[in-house]
């Protein structure tokens, strides 16, 4: 048994033993659980992939004369201005003004909110255009100017849902190519796409949310941020396998961090042909090895994690909940799975390569004493299910 304080003391003295979530598997196999639990202080987990429910709050400071922005665009991407005078929220999936979207199907979606976020972190000069109805205290009615992240008072990433615990494997049962947020899917189950870091993924290494909770300090694209709430659609009460690993989406995290501390290679705008824009983000989360149970759960390997195979031509859009079968991540990573007797080529959307890089970067930061662990101030729920949206004719 160790406490957060003991672990942080070891980190401070530069003596902490830190391993990544893939290294820990062999380590425990060699040393045994009891010895390893005594030796190891922290296991680092990570993920890098598209996370649509992301965005950021920007504060521009005041112009002379002042403006109360009522409509605004950054790089021609509409931002939300229903906040105080010069605060805006930029959403990752917002398309650029005049983007033809899917009018010429499949659309390319070359630039949107997520690309603005990438450019912001990269330090590029961006254009702000804002309008206002004008008030006595904020008389200016229009402004067009250029700024970089350094000109802003705040640029705070504020993501309502990141780090899905587990995720679907998407296939296409129809006889035409479909374009989804899970990538391009060829007809008749010719290919499949998955999107999880598997054995490296944060919430798969802490399936019962024993250490990752509200207040947990996390590494977001190089910045030190934290979990500020359970993520939207968090549903900790979904079905689990024998090891307690959810067999579908389940847990999610709402994350925040200062974008001024981020590095651009982990904040990437993505364009999904025929679908839209999303933000790919790199997140690393340390798990304090408080006891043998916590350690045991970080030893989960790709072979033990199941993902549901779902048809995205009909079952997913029609919300039927039908699962074709379950495959594990070891199978997925071979590049081929077999579903109902048919072999399917497998691609991925999340980058294991980047996730591994992040797990190592975070481990190094902790070893150097630059990253301290925090105890959650509230824990994530383990019993909630996701509610559907009911189309009602009358209020009931």
């Amino acid at each position: 048994m160790k406490t957060y304080e003991q672990i942080n003391n070891r980190i401070e003295s530069g003596k902490a033993v830190v391993l990544t979530a893939d290294e820990i598997i062999d380590y425990v196999e060699k040393k045994g659980l009891a010895t390893a639990a005594k030796e190891v202080d922290v296991v680092t987990t990570a993920t890098f992939g598209p996370m649509c429910s992301s965005g950021c709050v920007l504060n521009f400071g005041h112009s002379k004369p002042k403006i109360r922005m009522s409509e605004a665009w950054v790089q021609d991407v509409l931002v939300y201005t229903g906040l105080a005078a010069v605060d805006v929220y930029l959403g990752a999936t917002q398309l650029r003004h005049n983007d033809p979207a899917n009018m010429d199907h499949p659309g390319e979606f070359r630039y949107g909110g997520a690309h603005v976020m990438e450019d912001l972190v990269a330090g590029k000069a961006l254009q702000l255009f804002a309008l206002s109805y004008g008030t006595d205290c904020y008389p200016l009615r229009e402004i067009r100017t250029y700024f970089t992240i350094n000109d802003l008072n705040q640029a705070i990433m504020l993501n309502p849902r990141n780090c899905y615990q587990n995720y679907n494997v998407a296939v296409n049962d129809s006889d035409r190519t479909i374009y989804t947020y899970m990538g391009t899917l060829e007809p008749k189950r010719k290919n499949a796409n998955y999107c999880s870091a598997g054995q490296l993924s944060p919430l798969l290494n802490d399936p019962y949310y024993e250490t990752i909770g509200v207040g947990t300090r996390v590494w977001i694209a190089g910045a030190h941020g934290h979990v500020y709430a359970e993520g939207t659609q968090h549903a900790g009460g979904g079905s689990r396998n024998d090891q307690g690993i959810p067999k579908g989406g389940s847990g999610t995290l709402a994350l925040t961090a200062d974008m001024k501390q981020m590095s651009k290679e982990f904040v990437r705008g993505t364009s999904f042909r025929g679908y839209g824009v999303s933000l790919a983000l790199g997140v690393g989360i340390p798990i304090p090895i408080l006891n043998e149970d916590v350690l045991k759960r970080t030893c989960i390997s790709d072979r033990e994690i199941l993902a549901p195979v779902v048809d995205y031509s009909n079952e997913y859009p029609q919300n039927t909940g039908k699962v074709l079968s379950y495959v594990n991540y070891e199978q997925l990573r071979t590049g081929e799975i077999e579903v109902e007797g048919k072999k399917i080529a497998v691609g991925s959307l999340s980058s294991y390569y980047k996730a591994l890089e992040i797990a190592h970067l975070l481990a190094d930061e902790i070893k150097r004493g630059d990253f301290r662990l925090t105890e959650p101030i509230a824990y994530l729920k383990k019993d909630t299910k996701m509610k559907p949206l009911v189309a009602r004719e009358k209020p009931s």
């Binding site: 890098f48 992939g49 598209p50 070359r110 990538g183 391009t184 060829e186 010719k190 290919n191 499949a192 796409n193 990437r268 993505t270 364009s271 999904f272 042909r273 999303s278 790919a280 990573r333 590049g335 080529a345 497998v346 691609g347 991925s348 959307l349 999340s350 980058s351 294991y352 390569y353 980047k354 591994l356």
Partner: protein
């Protein structure tokens, strides 16, 4: 007979050279086997051509000397499709859309995605599906 080799080339034809039957002469006068992957004539009437030529080293050299007598630039690194290593996140989405394995996972442990230019047939599949805008065409 000396050994035949295959070389990947990218040719650029400025406006004035677009109408000359250069490829025909490569085949007829220089015994080269030509496999064209992709050709494009821009609205400005400039032409791009990505191709393989197969023949003896000597014949290829002579063929290239012949091409050089026109105002055509030859790019022997043949990069019609460019995969930007800085932009690539090694996500692996392109893998199932690349028919030849030119884009492939080189190391099963790190899962690094590598582009082997020689295997590329310029189908543009990766350009269509790469979410990170890492793949581009030189023309």
């Amino acid at each position: 007979m000396s050994q035949t080799i295959t070389k990947k080339l990218m040719l650029f034809f400025p406006k004035c050279e677009c109408e000359k039957p250069i490829i025909y002469h490569l085949v007829k006068d220089h015994n080269l086997i030509v496999n064209v992957f992709r050709a494009k004539v821009t609205p400005e009437e400039e032409g791009y051509l990505a191709l393989d030529v197969t023949g003896t080293e000597e014949d290829i050299e002579k063929g290239m000397d012949f091409v050089k007598t026109f105002n055509v630039s030859i790019n022997t690194t043949g990069k019609g499709i460019i995969v930007d290593e800085e932009q690539c996140t090694h996500c692996g989405h392109c893998i199932t859309h690349c028919p030849t394995g030119a884009l492939h996972i080189a190391d099963m442990v790190t899962r690094e995605v590598v582009y082997s230019e020689a295997k590329c047939i310029e189908c543009m599949g990766c350009i269509r599906v790469c979410p990170y805008n890492a793949c581009a065409s030189a023309f």
